[in-house]
């Protein structure tokens, strides 16, 4: 039996780096330290009937094809399109993302990640008002107040609280839990709220009003007796905890980024954090979902200057979320081909966007069977990044972590990066008149 220690869990944005995986005869026997979600990801490696060969849709359903043929089809689809969309990227390694961005530029397409449907608003707000952030290591060692707003880590990032916020002992927080206070702000009493010291139940869609009330009180103003369904005294006492802590953290999730106001909620929340720094040290970290959605923003920013929703149709990068982002492009019918890498838009996008996706030529690189692999005209299975392929991923606090390879992919499977490189090569060949 091989024992791999310090394995990185390629599932959620917490990107735990302490998993111990036991492998015997190409089967995962155990994944120690991992939470339920992470464990399920490692254990899924043992599933039978994994697709090894690319499938293409013909007159009568899907038929198998070779990788060479699949690569050529994707390349032609991209070259023929006037405005192709290259979407996904959150569950693959940075090295593959980098090739994908080069491909988008080469074919004059739009490249976008799932950030546009989760934390894109956070990025927009950061661009408007700044980003007072820290790393999770600092949180563990220093934070004595953690706020989770619109985020339920108990279910979405199960080890976040045990590794960084609620429970661990840190350098300045020797007593662990006793040295820390947790506030949860959400529309319902979540399981995370169950282990918090204070819970504020905000009426749905009124997050912006609540941030505004916090800031107004903080700036010495007065507020009505009730704002966003919460009594003034509760708002004031939560604010007092924020002002008097030594090192405060605001973790926010899609409950805040996707509730009405979107990026404006975050913009105002960031300003609240900035204002709190007049009293104490306060910071924020977005609770990024997929394990490498942060990495994509990083890589795209190095290569294009912008973090998501970049339109290369004119040969240079243009960025305008709302115009150059996937859901809007698909809903308006503005793109004429879609290439998905490591994502499942068919399951997550609004109906109108999926309807357009179903109408136009499409292809997907994806190790598993998903609604998207059935919807697309062509699917290419790939090796699983972070388990069968090594590579870099960025944790939610923008710390890069090298993911390790712990087992070989079944023969005949290539990594996302290798497949993308083949497509890029083919695209160049076609464009040069081959």
């Amino acid at each position: 039996m091989e024992i791999h220690t310090d394995v990185i869990c390629p599932f959620c944005g917490t990107l735990c780096d302490d998993i111990e995986v036991h492998v015997e005869n190409g089967r995962v026997m155990e994944a120690l330290n991992a939470c339920k979600l992470g464990n399920a990801k490692f254990m899924s490696m043992n599933k039978k009937n994994r697709h090894i060969v690319p499938m293409v849709r013909g007159e009568d359903g899907f038929t198998e094809t070779t990788i060479e043929d699949a690569v050529e089809r994707v390349a032609r689809m991209l070259v023929d399109a006037k405005k192709p969309l290259l979407y996904g990227w959150a569950t693959t390694e940075c090295e593959a993302q980098s090739v994908g961005i080069e491909l988008a530029e080469e074919v004059g397409g739009v490249i976008d990640s799932c950030a546009s449907v989760c934390h894109g608003p956070s990025v927009l707000a950061i661009q408007d008002v700044g980003f007072p952030s820290v790393t999770l290591g600092e949180v563990k060692n220093r934070a004595d107040l953690d706020i989770y707003w619109g985020s339920n880590p108990m279910h979405a990032h199960p080890r976040h609280m045990s590794r960084y916020s609620r429970y661990p002992r840190g350098y300045f927080r020797e007593r662990g839990q006793q040295d820390r206070t947790v506030i949860v702000i959400d529309v319902r009493r979540t399981d995370t709220a169950g282990i918090a010291d204070k819970f504020l139940q905000v009426s749905p869609g009124d997050d912006y009003e609540l941030v505004n009330a916090f800031r107004t009180l903080l700036n010495g103003g007065d507020i009505p007796d009730e704002v966003a369904g919460i009594a003034k005294k509760d708002i004031a006492s939560a604010l007092e905890l924020m002002k008097t802590c030594q090192f405060g953290m605001l973790f926010f999730g899609v409950g805040l980024t996707m509730s009405p106001g979107k990026h404006r909620n975050i913009d105002n929340a960031i300003s609240l954090v900035v204002d709190l720094n007049k009293y104490t040290k306060f910071n924020l970290i977005p609770m990024r979902g997929h394990y490498n959605v942060t990495g994509f923003s990083e890589v795209l920013t190095w290569q294009s200057g912008f973090p998501f929703g970049v339109d290369y149709t004119r040969g240079y990068p243009q960025y305008n979320p709302g115009e150059t982002t996937s859901v809007e492009l698909l809903s308006r019918g503005e793109v004429d081909a879609v290439f998905v890498v490591g994502s499942d838009p068919a399951a997550n996008f609004p109906k109108k966007a999926v309807e357009h996706l179903a109408k136009i030529p499409s292809a997907v690189i994806e190790p598993h069977e998903t609604p998207t692999t059935y919807l697309c005209d062509l699917n290419i299975p790939s090796a699983i990044a972070g388990i069968e392929v090594e590579g870099t991923a960025y944790r939610m606090d923008n710390v890069p972590i090298r993911m390790r390879k712990i087992m070989d992919a079944p023969a005949g499977l290539y990594s996302d990066r290798e497949i993308l490189e083949m497509i890029l090569l083919k695209v160049r060949e076609i464009k040069n008149g081959a």
């Binding site: 006037k82 912006y208 009003e209 009330a213 103003g221 105002n268 300003s271 709302g322």
Partner: protein
């Protein structure tokens, strides 16, 4: 003033980018030359004449050139981008980024305009006879300096986040306005004759907004006084108005919102 007429032949589904449809570019050109100007259909460079029938005559200078567009150009973006003089008259609905960074001249739209029109405008006169989309007269992404001058009149309704980071000029919406009108506003003047959705003037630190009716005011707005028939920014208003200062979520708040008392 001389006139060039563009008659819409077709609008491709991926849309067009047409910053070349502008008085400055057309000035001193024959209709043949104009039909040969590049226009972008996704990643393909095409000719203006592929999508529009061009007739008429352009003026000797930007200020002498009037462009009339006959038909719907909802899918054509960037018309009149950066214009400084001259005129554009669209006898249909207009696409995104119409008149962005405009500094002068006149634009009239008979129909609606899509989102992101007249961003960071600095001067000129605009009249939208239909409805306007989101982000009308706002700042571009990441910029904290929005519209600085000129006037925009919308006969219909306007979308959300109009006039973000406004620094000057005036927007008059005769209908209703979606949420976040004048968010982060700093200077300038917005008048809404209809109803404004909640979060009007959010995070404003300066400037003036007048609304006939509001869905709700944020906690950061403080009632100051009630004034009968006030004169605001040298315009007379009839009826009683409640004056608020805000948005006191921001310590620099010096903005004013006037709401009519029904």
């Amino acid at each position: 003033m001389k006139e060039i007429i563009l008659k819409v032949i077709s609008q491709p589904t991926v849309g067009l980018e047409a910053e070349n449809i502008a008085p400055k570019v057309f000035a001193c050109k024959s209709s043949m030359e104009i039909a040969g100007l590049p226009i972008y259909e996704g990643n393909r460079e095409r000719r203006l004449g592929d999508f529009f029938d061009v007739s008429g005559e352009a003026g000797e200078a930007e200020a002498e050139t009037r462009i009339v567009i006959e038909g719907d150009v909802r899918l054509t973006k960037r018309i009149g981008q950066g214009m400084r003089a001259g005129e554009i008259h669209i006898k249909g609905s207009a696409g995104m980024h119409l008149g962005s960074k405009m500094r002068g001249g006149k634009v009239t739209v008979e129909g609606d305009c899509e989102a992101f029109c007249f961003q960071e405008m600095r001067g000129g006169v605009v009249h939208i006879k239909g409805n306007a989309g989101n982000y009308l007269g706002s700042a571009t992404r990441g910029n904290w300096r929005g519209m600085r001058g000129g006037t925009i009149t919308v006969d219909g309704n306007a979308g959300s986040e109009i006039a973000t980071f406004m620094k000057g000029g005036k927007i008059h919406v005769k209908g209703d306005c979606a949420s976040f009108a004048g968010v982060h506003m700093n200077k300038g003047f917005i008048v809404i004759d209809g109803r404004a959705e909640r979060r009007i003037g959010a995070e404003m630190i300066g400037g003036t907004i007048v609304a006939n009716e509001v869905e709700a005011m944020l906690a950061g707005f403080k009632p100051v006084e009630t004034v009968k028939a006030p004169e605001i920014e040298s315009e007379k208003f009839t009826g009683n108005y409640k004056k608020y200062s805000g948005d006191h979520a921001d310590s620099r708040a010096k903005g004013t919102v006037w709401v009519k008392i029904q």
